[in-house]
């Protein structure tokens, strides 16, 4: 997997590693997978929408009335294309705005989870001994508590002290999500520790921090990447459950909030809110799943 690293002038090892990845066979393989590429395009579209929301170009008016209550889809303004909710607010605007929230929740929690996880994993694997025992104990403990229970207990506890909507979600997800990447990175680092170039770096007297950050961690990046995609999906899906319990996003719409708010409307024939949120979520989660699969496939040494 570590194809010739010396071909580039860049001294920044992370950049170098990323370039390696781009030029590597897995990357070529991934880029040839048309289905995965379509999914990547779809993800980029979602990201574009999220970006536009973040910049205030669309979606800022998610709380405004645009029509009568429960207007069915269709209408002159584009804001009425997907109808309105019980307060006459535009479903399409809320759906678009939720894209940003989904990326917020997905990105931040996945980032916290994979950064914390891989750092802890690398430290544990690299130093071994007591450090390793402690980290392994910590993740075994977290792992044996049912995920949802821990999430709920955490968001309860956090929401008492940090009254700030999304932060609660980040902390709760971050604190449970690090386990996966930690285990995998630890396993990989255990192998890497014995590799020639780490031994060489050690012999040259580099500091542990330098070896870890510049030589060990970059070589686990591919694994972390796959986990990042998986955690992203998990965060978006778990948010629905947290929102159902009233512990999720507050004060702004999210797909989870939309599904939760429309959970009793089906009987009235108001399918558009639950439908819009479900389809929007389906698109993103589906593409992320497919992409993560393709990524894993491409990185699988056996398939090279």
């Amino acid at each position: 997997m570590t194809t010739a690293a010396a071909t580039t002038d860049t001294t920044n090892p992370v950049v170098r590693r990323l370039q390696d990845i781009w030029r590597s066979r897995p990357s070529l393989k991934l880029r040839r997978d048309r289905f995965a590429m379509v999914c990547l395009v779809v993800i980029s579209l979602y990201m574009l929408i999220a970006l536009m929301v973040a910049l205030g170009i669309i979606g800022g008016d998610f709380a405004d009335r645009v029509g009568t209550n429960y207007q069915s889809p269709g209408g002159e303004s584009w804001k009425l294309w997907l109808g309105t909710d019980r307060q006459g607010r535009s479903i399409i605007v809320r759906m678009l705005y939720s894209t940003k929230v989904a990326f917020n929740v997905g990105f931040v929690s996945a980032l916290i989870g994979s950064v914390v996880g891989s750092l802890l994993g690398a430290i544990a694997g690299y130093f071994g001994k007591t450090t390793d025992t402690v980290v392994v104990w910590l993740y075994s403990t977290i792992q044996s508590i049912p995920n949802l229970l821990l999430l709920i207990a955490l968001s309860y506890a956090v929401s008492r002290w940090l009254d700030r909507g999304l932060i609660v979600v980040y902390v709760a997800f971050g604190a449970t999500f690090w386990v996966g990447p930690c285990r995998v990175v630890r396993g990989e680092v255990l192998k890497l520790r014995e590799s020639d170039y780490v031994q060489a770096a050690r012999a040259m007297g580099y500091s542990h921090a330098r070896i870890l950050l510049l030589h060990v961690l970059p070589n686990t990046l591919h694994l972390v990447l796959v986990y990042f995609a998986l955690l992203f999906v998990a965060a978006i899906k778990s948010e629905v459950i947290l929102s159902y319990l009233g512990l999720g996003v507050q004060g702004e719409p999210s797909w989870g909030v939309m599904i939760n708010q429309s959970r009793a409307e089906l009987i009235n024939g108001y399918y558009w809110q639950i439908g819009a949120a479900t389809v929007a979520m389906l698109g993103l989660v589906l593409c992320f799943n497919v992409f993560a699969d393709a990524l894993q496939d491409a990185l699988d040494p056996k398939s090279l």
Partner: protein, 311 residues
């Protein structure tokens, strides 16, 4: 062998201790004051103080933790804040319905997923495989809540194929209430399991002995059942085993939508009313089961696969 088991069991102790510590920290230290919930409206400060004293909540945190550890060791989890009943009694009452829901679902999901995974693996990289996998991923990408709401509305109400809500204690009667929730659970889990078993089976199919068997002229059914499935047994058993502890909790959402009096619904109730003893006991129960099944799994693994040494 016995030394191995014993060592693994001892290794489980710190984990259980960790679980107690985390649940204690989350609930007792940062979780708020349960006396307020218990006291009802127009309570005075003295009422609150009396309640705290009754449940030992006025003691220093360290001795509260020690009490909790004592409870853990003796499997006496104290009284529910909400109903004052012993927590053990509550768990006993509620565990049956949950398992009635989750165990059949696990069995059916596993069987179905292996069957579909086998088909997909047999036709790997062809249209049928891709179609099935696309379906699996799509199934995984829809929210649990949507399955419940839509399933209840369409299948139970519009088609009148199932009971909408409720439960019966009798073994014969309860299935009519459980069947729809079980189906929802199967549909939700099928995507994940199918993908997993497919990849396991694809790997097995690629092995040399399978190729040899095919070369010797064994029929496809024989190859798949004798050579592929048998060797895939270890990952299958492992996956089933690690999901066993979580059968106890049932399903939070399903139980509250379908009125099934299981531990999931109980947990939701406990969360809403800050009934900490119930939450703690349940967390601990599952963690212990989890640690035990992991150990059991390792032992089983060692027995099946002689390459694993029992050092």
């Amino acid at each position: 062998m016995w030394a191995f088991i014993l060592r693994r069991l001892l290794g489980g102790i710190p984990i259980i201790l960790g679980v107690t510590l985390i649940t204690f920290l989350l609930l007792n230290v940062v979780g708020g004051d349960p006396a307020l919930q218990m006291a009802g409206k127009n309570a005075t400060e003295e009422d609150l103080a009396a309640l705290r004293a009754e449940y030992g909540l006025d003691k220093p945190l360290v001795s509260q933790y020690v009490d909790y550890l004592k409870q853990t060791v003796t499997f006496d989890f104290g009284k529910s804040y909400k109903t004052k009943e012993p927590v053990v009694d509550i768990l006993k009452q509620r565990v049956g319905p949950s398992i009635s829901l989750t165990l059949p679902a696990l069995i059916a999901t596993t069987l179905l997923a292996i069957a579909i995974g086998l088909i997909a693996a047999a036709f790997r990289q062809r249209a049928l495989d891709r179609g099935l996998m696309a379906l699996a991923v799509t199934g995984m990408s829809i929210s649990f809540l949507v399955y419940i709401v839509v399933g209840q509305y369409l299948l139970a109400f519009q088609l009148r194929a199932f009971q909408i809500h409720g439960y019966a204690s009798g073994w014969g009667e309860r299935w009519q209430y459980l069947s729809l929730p079980i189906i929802v659970l199967i549909v939700v889990g099928l995507g994940y399991d199918t993908r997993f078993y497919r990849s396991v089976l694809v790997e097995e199919i690629g092995r040399d002995h399978v190729t040899t068997a095919v070369a010797k002229g064994a029929g496809p059914t024989r190859v798949l059942t004798r050579h592929v499935l048998r060797n895939a047994l270890i990952p299958i058993v492992t996956r089933v085993m690690i999901s066993l502890p979580f059968l106890v909790t049932g399903s939070l959402l399903l139980e509250s939508f379908f009125g099934i009096p299981g531990l999931g619904a109980q947990l939701l109730e406990a969360i809403e009313s800050a009934d900490f003893p119930v939450i703690r006991a349940l967390t601990l129960l599952i963690s212990v089961l989890f640690v035990l099944t992991t150990i059991l799994n390792d032992v089983l693994y060692a027995v099946v696969d002689p390459r694993v040494r029992l050092e």
